[in-house]
Assembly symmetry: C2
Homo-oligomer: 198 residues x 2
């Protein structure tokens, strides 16, 4: 990278606008028509651009879908760093619960449960990527001495995300505000621990 780069020329600024329009259109088409209905043609029509522009920018339909979903989720699901693992987890999984309670959030979860023969391992890595990122909250807590060194960050994150995914996909039980907090308390303190003041 050259520090003295001049401001982006008009062509590149048009490129940035095209990029965000195509990525937003991809999320719209995915939410409305599912993975199978998300073709490069459908996205190009929704974004009002030529198909060739999409192929030029992303190469394949799969690259396009993955980039659109990752970008959207990273914006919607920031990983907090408050210095207290309980607050970090309650914040992150509270946001996740609210996201899954929206029609778009549920649709994105359903996409990850679909099998698609055009994808490398037939699964969208969208949610698994999000859960991988969430383990950093647990790793930081271990580094601070807040959690024991033998803590399994993946298992802890799965125990928090799994019930939220299950409510969205299987049971339809409400993804209410307090659910994430109650799950964090359960997983950090354990069911068999005496409750403070109980």
């Amino acid at each position: 990278m050259v520090p003295s780069d001049p401001p982006a020329p008009p062509l590149r600024r048009r490129g940035a606008r095209l990029r965000s329009a195509v990525l937003a259109a991809t999320v719209d088409v995915l939410t409305e028509h599912g993975l199978a209905g998300t073709t490069v043609g459908a996205v190009a029509r929704a974004a009002g651009v030529h198909e060739t522009s999409v192929y030029r920018g992303w190469g394949t339909r799969e690259n396009l879908i993955l980039e659109a979903l990752s970008e959207q989720a990273d914006a919607a699901l920031p990983v907090p760093d408050t210095g207290r693992v309980r607050d970090d987890l309650a914040g992150y999984f509270g946001t996740l619960a609210r996201l899954l309670a929206t029609p778009q959030g549920e649709a994105l979860l359903r996409l990850s449960a679909e099998r698609d023969d055009t994808l490398p391992d037939r699964r969208l890595p969208y949610w698994t990527d999000r859960l991988d990122r969430a383990t950093v909250m647990v790793r930081r807590a271990v580094d601070r001495g807040e959690l024991p060194p033998d803590t399994d960050p993946v298992l802890l994150v799965e125990a928090l995300a799994g019930p939220l995914f299950t409510r969205a996909l299987i049971s339809g039980a409400p993804l209410d505000e307090t659910l994430a907090t109650r799950l964090v308390d359960l997983v950090l303190d354990g069911a068999s621990a005496p409750k403070p003041g109980a």
Copy 2:
């Protein structure tokens, strides 16, 4: 029930054989063709019986599907009662993990994630019924004083089942033998508790 009932007459025994053949065929058709492909006609063909016999016995396609799935799951997923909640939960969720690792188990889970406009609330209550039944292990532990009276049995069961469902539906991570035991230890003891011998 009348204790002096005579042995079932031939007609009724034929009925029992028909019933089990139709229910087994229903599970086969569901596993192979999904919810949408499970019509009364397809089940009747697979069982080698007349469609009218299926309608006479079950009334609707929905009743047939629900009875077939419930019967199968109750046989495959018994609720243990060892007197120790840790062993009960590890046994039950270990069996569930092994069931979900089979193609048939994964197919049954996918059915519950599908939406079907012909069902009362558009969801198969198959897995939610199973989780409801599993809460009895937690309730018994509260009655024995093994867990505190303010324990939430539904939340505890969700924290154990959710990660298993997530691995089967979303991440594809292995449903190995030790997973259920590690989850039970996490949810009963809590991540922040010091481990014995650690």
